[in-house]
Amino acid sequence: MTEKKWPETWQEVNPGCMVFRPGSAKEYHTGSWRAKRPIWDNAKCIKCGVCYIYCPEGCVTENADGFFEANLDYCKGCGICAHECWPVAIKMVNEEE
């Protein structure tokens, strides 16, 4: 995770607190908030993509084989994907350690 340099001096704050760097939110790895993570059982997965649609973070993606996985840098473990999965192919398990 990229460390945010702050507090910047008041002189360094952009006028209007404008941000000119695109996509800087990407540096904030909200995955560190997670208490549980989703695990896909690909034997049960029917590749419908509902988990991808419902993920509020937009961090579930389809891989080369057509199965789905969460980007653990951003996945907050909300469990909505598991809740919506029809074939119950997703299980929320406690974060190790």
């Binding site: 001096t9 008041w10 704050v13 209007g16 607190c17 404008m18 000119f20």
Partner: protein
């Protein structure tokens, strides 16, 4: 060359905005600003300015829409009064924080309750902490001049702050009087096209209106305060340029017969002109009276104040609003605070006058001066002329 015409001041203010070639007007009508809103919409409908008029459903939307348009780099104007200003008040500090140089014409009107549509300053006073530059006009000419100056000051890259131009509702807005309207070439020469510091556009990468965590908010506020405090330099520059081009002089605090004055009235807004007559009458009677007329309210002109009160023994500060349960009128309390550290400072008393459109005549000002001459009133601040 400007033309001397007779014009209703509200109409003239909209005409002045038109001369500034505004790109967008987002306005909601409210008495006594309504002629400004109507005339701005006429100007756009008649194609006299290449602009859009956003017909919003409330003042809150008016300033919000104005912010959106200014953020895209469009020169935007709005106008309101009283309850309308209060309704949009949650947006005012955001406008200044986001450094969007919107110009707002305010037809000062009393704030409810009871409901009152007539003139006083209780609408603008609660806004003094919002980080806007504030001009106060004494007459129709100043309304026109200040509207044009407002765009120049606000849009200056060293400032980038919104500006409100305050004109007394009814007393000025509904008054037909002689005004020298500058012509388009003169204004084009004075006011260049708006080049924004940043603008929302698909080709430009910028986020505006961001979140500020506790770690950064205080720095952002300091930056805003410094910008507002430093803007007085630009105001002085613009006023010098104005005087050079148009021949009319503007100062943060204009003095009238204060050279050897022992007691001075302080006014803000159109009552200052009536007060001038009172000063003349008092002088005829041998009273060494003078007058200070505040034209720049924010940023507060501390240096100018300290300079102009030298030698004056008593200041009778008139306010047209009350900070209830507080130290009296806002102008009074700020002047007192500004002079606290000055070793030789005048005795300062406070009259709350002209509330809710109550007329203030020459005789009233003379009476105020005579009573203030003792340097103390029976109360810390006095609601002048209130029965009972």
């Amino acid at each position: 060359m400007g033309k001397r015409v007779g014009m209703e001041v509200a109409i003239a203010s909209a005409e002045a905005a038109a001369l500034c070639r505004f790109d967008v007007a987002a306005v909601y009508p409210i008495t006594p600003q309504s002629h400004v809103a109507e005339h701005l919409s006429d100007i756009v409908a008649d194609g006299r300015v290449d602009a859009s008029f956003i017909t919003v459903e409330s003042e809150h939307s008016a300033l919000s829409a104005a912010m959106g348009s200014e953020a895209t780099g469009a020169r935007t104007v709005t106008a309101t009064s009283s309850q309308g200003l209060l309704y949009m008040s949650e947006v005012l500090p955001i406008t200044s924080a986001m450094r969007l140089p919107i110009v707002m014409l305010i037809a000062n009107r009393a704030v409810s309750g009871p409901i009152n549509i007539w003139n006083d300053h209780s609408d603008i006073m609660p806004m003094r902490d919002t980080g806007w530059i504030s001009f106060f006009a004494d007459n129709g000419q100043e309304v026109v001049d200040m509207t044009i100056q407002a765009f120049k000051v606000g849009e200056d890259r060293r400032v980038m702050l919104p500006v409100n131009v305050n004109m007394d509702g009814f007393q000025l807005t509904h008054m037909v009087e002689p005004i020298i309207m500058p012509d388009q070439e003169e204004v084009d020469h004075f006011l260049p096209a708006y080049v924004p510091y940043a603008a929302l556009h698909p080709d430009n990468i910028v986020s505006m209106g961001t979140l500020g965590m506790p770690e950064i908010y205080a720095e952002a506020q300091k930056a805003k305060d410094v910008a507002l405090v430093n803007s007085i330099k630009v105001v002085r520059e613009v006023w010098k340029e104005w005087e050079a081009q148009f021949g009319r002089k503007y100062e943060p605090i204009q003095t009238y017969r204060t050279e050897d004055a022992e007691i001075a009235l302080v006014t803000m807004g159109s009552m200052g002109e009536t007060a001038e007559i009172a000063v003349d009458e008092l002088r005829k009677q041998g009273v060494k009276a003078g007058l200070l007329k505040i034209k720049l309210w924010r940023p507060f002109p501390f240096d100018d104040l300290k300079k102009v009160v030298k030698g004056i023994k008593v200041l009778a500060v008139t306010d047209r609003a009350c900070s209830f349960g507080g130290p009296g009128g806002p102008v009074f309390s700020e002047i007192r605070s500004a002079l606290y550290d000055t070793p030789k400072r005048p005795k300062i008393v406070n009259y709350l006058i002209g509330l809710g459109g109550r007329d203030v005549q020459v005789e009233n000002f003379m009476d105020m001066v005579r009573r203030a001459a003792k340097g103390k009133l029976s109360e810390p601040y006095e609601f002048y002329g209130v029965r009972g």
